[in-house]
Amino acid sequence: MGLSTVAAAVSVARFHQGVAWITVAACGLSWVPSGLRWLRVAQREHYLAGSSTRFAARWWTITPVNRAMAATAVAAGVISVWRPLAGILTGLMVAAGPLGLSLKGRTAPLAWTRRLRTLAGVWAVMEILVVVIGLVTGLASVLTVVAALAVPLLMDAACVVTAPIERRLSEHFVADAQRRLQRVAPTVVGITGSYGKTSTKNHLVHLVEGTSSVVATPASFNNRAGLARAINEHLTDGTEVFIAEMGTYGLGEIADMCRWCPPRVAVITAIGPVHLERFGTEDRIVEAKSEIAVPARDVVIQVDDPRLAALADRLAAEGKHMVRCSASDRSADVSVIREAGTTRVTVTIGGETVATGVELPTGVQPANLACAIGAARSVGVETSSIVSTLADLPAVGHRLQAVRSPSGFTILDDTYNSNPAGARAALAALGELEGPGAADPGGGATGTTAVVTPGMVELGSRQRAENYSFGSEIAGVADNLVVVGRTNRRALEAGAASNGSARMAVTWVANRPQAVAWVRDHLGPGDAVLYENDLPDHYP
């Protein structure tokens, strides 16, 4: 009798142990799809530690289904301490969710680069380490469940661990770049700013290329690794002017680039709440951008923004040669000012008018052009040469291009823009379009205007407010708002509803293809649509 009780107890214990292994297997398997998801997010977010957790928090709370799945996963995880089988449910949830965040990605598929493979390896080791600790302490099933729930956290931890490795690996590319730069010895122009960097760079190339042989960093090569690659692969012997776009996600990054690629001419185009969630405050953004001025002799700066005007005064006091640029103040060192009611501008240099009636192509912002002119002067381009090349300034690609669709409506493409100031300018352009909508808001089938947007992101604490006011402003201009995705849905819709004067229709679609389909179904000849910003599909 006593013996059989013991035997039964042992078999129950064995059964539990067996069950625990099923849980370990289920949760272990769930790491794979979950890991792929968060690897993709980490890659899209430039391997910055914290992004996976931040996006996980967003995704798991964005829809009722995802919230239910998250709650189930956690609850089952807790129950699994006593009933190991419950952990299987956690594994299932983690493997399947969050719904909407696809494994492979449509707009931004996972690319198995060397860097990603390293990250995947380090992350996998961390996951296994947790289970090994479980085996040693006898908590295998509990810790496997925890490891499944903590995939985004461990992914961030892996980002932290790999960051110094990546830095070490990039060291020799940077050393190569530094050597090449010293050998070719061009005049280096560094351009930074929250927005307008690429446009200003392109304008500057145009103004300089008739006078000097010029090489500019290709689009999006604006961090440490990208700059090194641009120099190693594009800086041809004989280059006289090298234009480097320098972006930053945090303090010290530009200072670091300036150590091995010091610009003689520094350009600061604009300050705005871009990447605000990484910086915290806009003052810190100004501080980060101003690092570019340290090695420079000349600093070209847009002073329509009072914060940059203050920075200019500070730098002048430090003995920098300042070139203040403006889109409104004729007394600035360089001004490009719109002639009232036209698409033409007047250009002044040192207070003197050098050109009037200059037609600006689509998308060219006067402030950016002013900065480009200031920088061109700093690298020695004659005023006469600047004036003659202004006449054939190219339009800015993907920056508010107006094109006609095959079925006859106008498309304003501002999908590459992501900042509030640009969004406002685009909206104004939609309002100014001749023909449709604006003159006759809500005027029936023809002349309809629509704005298609997922809203703006990376605005930190101001994200909701910025999208809310954008929604409200859209309501004052357009007949239709098509909100794409869930990221800013509530803020945009609430903002749109707050504008009482409007009779705008608001539609919600899950993704870009659905938005395009909506436009095709609803717009015809004489209508116009503004596509404002586009988010890769790792955003909800």
Binding site: R180, G210, V214, P218, N232, E233, H234, T236, D237
Partner: protein, 370 residues
């Protein structure tokens, strides 16, 4: 089996067009089934890489494509291309039997690359060092044509101390060296021409000046040298806009897939007598420049007069699209180019005469310096 190599890219303003030509050649060789192809990419900064020959142009947009293997090029008899720093730190030599040179402009078409390939012992298609250099130097080429009695526009060196040309303006200014229309300027008078000389970065290594004749239009013909001298149909390129001063770089290359996509009249509708003059002149140009491979010769004409303008010794798309009459397929063109590369040497070094006599009787070097 040794590989056929395709060389493209290079530190040249025509780097991008060269990538298109190179990828077309690699694809053409692959389609012709002539064995393994090694695609050798020469970067803008002068580095060498082995890349997948099946790549699309887009892979080169940002620079060196993903998955490229770095190579070293050693100019020595047992040199050639090798993978630098292989897995075990050992260099793996590429077994190359002949190379199709697809470089345009710059050191790929001016004899620099050709000289290194000669020294490395790699057989290659297209011009030799001498043919490439004369084709790249507009001043030398123009003088050579004039000297041989071929009709050309007067062409003079433009320098800061040069006297006004013997002809009247408006003038067309061209970089002395360079293959494409990049850097060309049209000016009204000689004072402006001299001002442009210091301002235009493309004139740093010299510029030539010619009378600007908007009444003349372009006529082009491809010539190949193997198995025998052969001329293609004559082409009349069409300018994209009536206001454009000259057939610019955009017209030539950007509009489509290399030259093959540009607007044109082919064969050009010209009088039989003009065509005959053109063909005779083209054959003469080929002989004068020691043509090797396939070249494109550009003429200017007002439909009665004909002027030799320039030669492209390695033309965009290897001028494959011009072979409509006679019909030469791209595969056949490439096969003949490779045949010539293997069989017709680009150089013959001789040391006869260097038999030690001079050295024996030389005495001490110090004595010579004294």
């Amino acid at each position: 089996m040794p590989d056929v190599a395709v060389i493209f890219g290079g530190p040249s303003p025509e780097h991008d067009v060269s990538v298109l030509t190179g990828l077309q050649a690699a694809r053409g060789l692959d389609l012709a089934g002539s064995g393994p192809v090694a695609a050798l990419y020469w970067s803008k900064t002068g580095d060498w890489f082995a890349v997948d020959p099946g790549l699309e142009a887009e892979a080169f947009v940002d620079g060196v494509p993903r998955g490229a293997t770095k190579l070293q090029l050693v100019a020595a008899p047992d040199g050639g291309f090798s993978e630098s720093g292989g897995r075990l730190g050992r260099a793996r030599q590429l077994d190359i039997d002949a190379a199709v040179v697809c470089c345009h402009g710059g050191p790929g078409e001016d004899g620099s690359l050709q000289a290194v390939l000669d020294l490395a012992g790699i057989a290659y298609t297209g011009p030799s060092v001498a043919g490439a250099s004369v084709g790249m130097d507009k001043l030398s080429f123009g003088a050579l044509m004039a000297e041989a009695g071929l009709p050309t526009l007067p062409r003079q060196l433009l320098s800061t101390d040069s006297a006004a040309p013997s002809f009247d303006g408006p003038y067309i200014l061209k970089p002395r060296f360079g293959g494409s229309s990049i850097g060309i300027d049209v000016v009204e008078d000689f004072a402006t021409a001299q001002a442009r000389l210091s301002a235009n970065p493309h004139f740093r290594s010299g510029a030539v000046v010619e009378p600007f004749r908007p009444d003349l239009s372009d006529l082009q013909v491809a010539v190949r040298s193997w198995p025998a001298l052969q001329l293609s149909a004559v082409e009349r390129p069409i300018r994209s806009s009536a206001t454009a001063d000259i057939l610019d770089y955009r017209d030539k290359y950007v509009a489509g897939e290399g030259m093959a996509g540009a607007p044109r009249q082919l064969p050009a509708q010209i009088s039989p007598s003009l065509e005959k003059t053109l063909r005779e002149a083209a054959a003469q140009v080929a002989t004068l420049t020691g043509l090797r491979g396939v070249a494109r010769i550009d003429f200017l004409s007002d439909d009665s007069q004909l002027m030799v303008n320039e030669i492209n010794t390695i033309p965009g798309s290897l001028a494959r699209y011009l072979w409509v009459d006679p019909v030469v397929s791209f595969g056949e063109l490439l096969a003949d180019l490779l045949d010539e590369a293997r069989q017709r040497p680009t150089h013959a070094y001789t040391t006869s005469g260097a038999d030690g006599t001079v050295l024996r009787s030389a005495g001490s070097i110090a004595g010579k310096l004294g």
